[in-house]
């Protein structure tokens, strides 16, 4: 006969979902799934930086909401937002040689830079200053793809909002620099990959040679490190 049985079954299905939000998940009954703060713990929130990271898989059941400021989704290694410039921790040198390739390849043309000059007025392979207009950048990652020196990389920090957008959104060299250690932390796989290891060694050698050559003018000796933030 089937009189209304479909409707009743449907109601049982939704009721089951309703109950499961209380009963299943990593946390039981009253505990938040993912181990966030408890629902009965009304006023305490995790301190900034200690928010639990919630990783949901295809088998996750129960509540799906990630309460963003208090809980976070994990960022995967390939996740990219804005470019950063890397300096090597060992010697404090910026990897960038100011070759301008990234500026040329950048589709919206939001990178520009000035070349550093040695004591004799000859150009030195490092940037004097380096700018990226973050409002124009479209996060394509071409700059990082094309950089022959692995100097520019895509960062994962997505919390960039602020109240002023005319000056603060044009990032200068100082704003862009991050250490190679930081990069190794956010991109462990890429950092350990054979490619990047080989590239690092090669670049180091090449850069050293070019630097020495440029500096072998009237005044010998190394200039002060360009920037160590």
């Amino acid at each position: 006969m089937g009189l209304g049985t479909g409707i009743l079954t449907g109601h049982l299905v939704t009721l089951r979902r309703f109950l499961r939000t209380f009963l299943v998940g990593q946390g039981r009954t009253l505990k938040r799934r993912g181990g966030g703060h408890q629902p009965l713990d009304f006023f305490r929130k995790p301190a900034p930086g200690t928010e639990p990271v919630i990783d949901q898989g295809p088998t996750t059941e129960g509540l799906f909401t990630v309460e963003y400021p208090d809980e976070r989704l994990p960022t995967r290694e390939r996740f990219r937002v804005l470019p950063v410039l890397i300096y090597d921790d060992e010697d404090g040198y910026v990897r960038c040689t100011s070759c301008n390739i990234c500026a040329k390849v950048c589709p919206p043309q939001c990178i520009w830079m000035t070349h550093a000059q040695g004591p004799d007025g000859n150009p030195v392979p490092m940037p004097e200053d380096f700018f990226i207009d973050m409002d124009v950048c479209m996060n394509c990652g071409f700059c990082a793809e094309y950089c022959p020196f692995d100097a520019i990389k895509m960062d994962q920090n997505f919390e960039q909002s602020n109240y002023e957008r005319h000056q603060t959104h044009i990032y200068s060299l100082q704003d862009l620099l991050v250490s190679s250690t930081y990069y190794a932390q956010t991109h462990p796989e890429a950092w350990a990959s054979a490619d990047e290891v080989a590239e690092r060694n090669k670049v180091k050698k090449k850069k050293d040679q070019r630097l020495q050559k440029a500096l072998a003018g009237p005044a010998s000796g190394r200039p002060a490190p360009a920037a160590v933030s």
């Binding site: 006969m1 009721l15 979902r17 939000t21 009304f42 006023f43 509540l63 799906f64």
Partner: protein, 442 residues
């Protein structure tokens, strides 16, 4: 020990000494404070519960568990600009939401929420003096149910005025749908209240509550159960909630009759919708779930003349009443979280071709139950569990099943005959027509 103001307030709430005092007390405590507060937190509960049905958390940013969310929403609504469209009929536009809200509030005015006090009253039929519970109803009307049905029909007037005065095609369409729906579902709603009237022998809601306190809940009989179900279905349609929310179907007609309303005037519609949900739940509780009474056990014996006993019993009864009402409201949330919106022709055929005949047949079956069980034994339900009772359950139960089965079969036959998808496609122009032949040849 007993302070006078407390006693006076209590006496006033239970309709005794001064005729106008209870009204003032109910207006100030119930209608100006308690009911809007309950409604605000119904909205919160609905958001929380609907969220859980969808594996979400729901509001939790304003205050712990989002408990201050209704207050934040109210502040937002009040501070928003109130726009009345230039072409709108101003007075009617402003009046419409108020009318809706008044309808919902007036409905609540005759509901017995608790036990009230035990007073002596002469039974008009037998002239015997009987104990009568005043039921803690704001107003006790001898024909409360009639009044209740009359004021709840005001809602469709409010809805139509809103849609008409807005001068907006969507609002008008929504209003027209709404009136069609409200008028249609009012019929089964009213018809399904009649078994309760039949069992109790009175139109007074307080009387119906008294009868259930004595005879047992009316839902515990096959005709009562069917009537209660019809009443709930029709009530959900009456308050325009899913799956009967065609009047405000967002995807078709924006927001229906309140498309042109903004600010707190929209808030009034919102308030009225939830208020009428509360009202129909209270009505169903009073008619079939025995109001504030507990199953198998009457609190009447605990009532005495002392203030303490009255307060205690009534606190308990109001708690029980609130629990039942909340359960019914939860069921409404649950239905909304489950069922998609109905098609308009299905909506109408369900009301007129299924619910109305079923409630009429149910009335007859209720009369059978009345004759077999209620009248001879003076027990509606579990006051008397013996062979007569079981026999009556089997008999009326079978009759109900038969009625539902036949009506369902008829409805299906009718659907099969009228469903456009099941009618074989026909050519609009018969090719045998001579002029069609010439056109085709040319």
């Amino acid at each position: 020990m007993v302070t006078d103001p407390v006693l006076a307030l209590w006496a006033s709430l239970t309709l005794e000494p001064i005729p106008w005092l209870p009204w003032i007390a109910w207006l100030l405590i119930g209608f100006a404070a308690a009911f809007p507060g309950i409604v605000a937190y119904m909205v919160w509960a609905e958001r929380k519960i609907a969220a859980r049905f969808q594996d979400r958390i729901g509001p939790n940013r304003v205050g712990p568990l989002g408990l201050l969310q209704p207050i934040a929403d109210a502040i937002k609504l009040i501070t928003k600009e109130d726009v009345v469209p230039q072409a709108a009929d101003r007075i009617v536009h402003v009046l419409a939401p108020v009318l809706l809200l008044i309808s919902a509030l007036l409905t609540l005015a005759v509901i017995p929420f608790g036990y009230g006090r035990l007073v002596d009253r002469t039974d008009p039929a037998t002239d015997a003096v009987i104990g009568w519970l005043t039921g803690l109803a704001p107003v006790e009307l001898p024909s409360g149910l009639l009044y209740l049905i009359a004021v709840s029909s005001l809602a469709s007037l409010g809805v139509f005025l809103a849609g008409w005065s807005s001068r907006n095609k969507y609002a008008l369409l929504g209003a027209m749908r709404s009136v069609a729906q409200l008028v249609s579902y009012e019929v089964p709603q009213v018809l399904s209240t009649i078994p309760a009237v039949l069992f109790a022998g009175t139109l007074s809601l307080v009387g119906i509550f008294n009868a259930q306190d004595q005879l047992g809940w009316f839902i515990a009989s096959p005709p009562g159960l069917v009537a209660f179900t019809i009443l709930m279905i029709a009530s959900i349609a009456e308050v325009n909630r899913a799956p009967f929310d065609l009047p405000e179907a967002e995807s078709e007609i924006i927001a229906g009759y309140h498309t042109e309303y903004s600010s707190m005037r929209f808030g009034l519609f919102f308030l009225a919708e939830y208020m009428s949900m509360l009202a129909v739940s209270c009505l169903a509780t009073t008619l079939y779930l025995g109001g504030g009474s507990l199953p198998f056990f009457s609190l009447r014996g605990l009532l005495s003349d002392t203030l303490a006993s009255q307060l205690l019993v009534n606190a308990l009864a109001v708690g029980v009443f609130a629990a039942k009402v909340f359960f019914l409201i939860f069921v409404m949330f649950w239905v909304r979280a489950t069922l998609p919106r109905m098609r308009v022709d299905r909506l109408m055929s369900f009301a007129w071709k299924f619910l109305v005949p079923l409630s009429i047949v149910n009335l007859v079956i209720a009369a059978v139950w009345f004759e077999i069980v209620v009248r001879p034994t003076n027990h509606a339900t579990w006051g008397l569990i013996d062979l007569t009772w079981w026999g009556a359950v089997v008999l009326t139960g079978l009759l109900e099943i038969l009625a539902i089965w036949i009506l369902n079969a008829l409805l299906r036959l009718d659907r099969a005959a009228t469903d456009p998808r099941l009618i074989p496609p026909r050519l609009l122009v018969p090719t045998s027509a001579p002029w069609a032949q010439t056109t085709l040849r040319a």
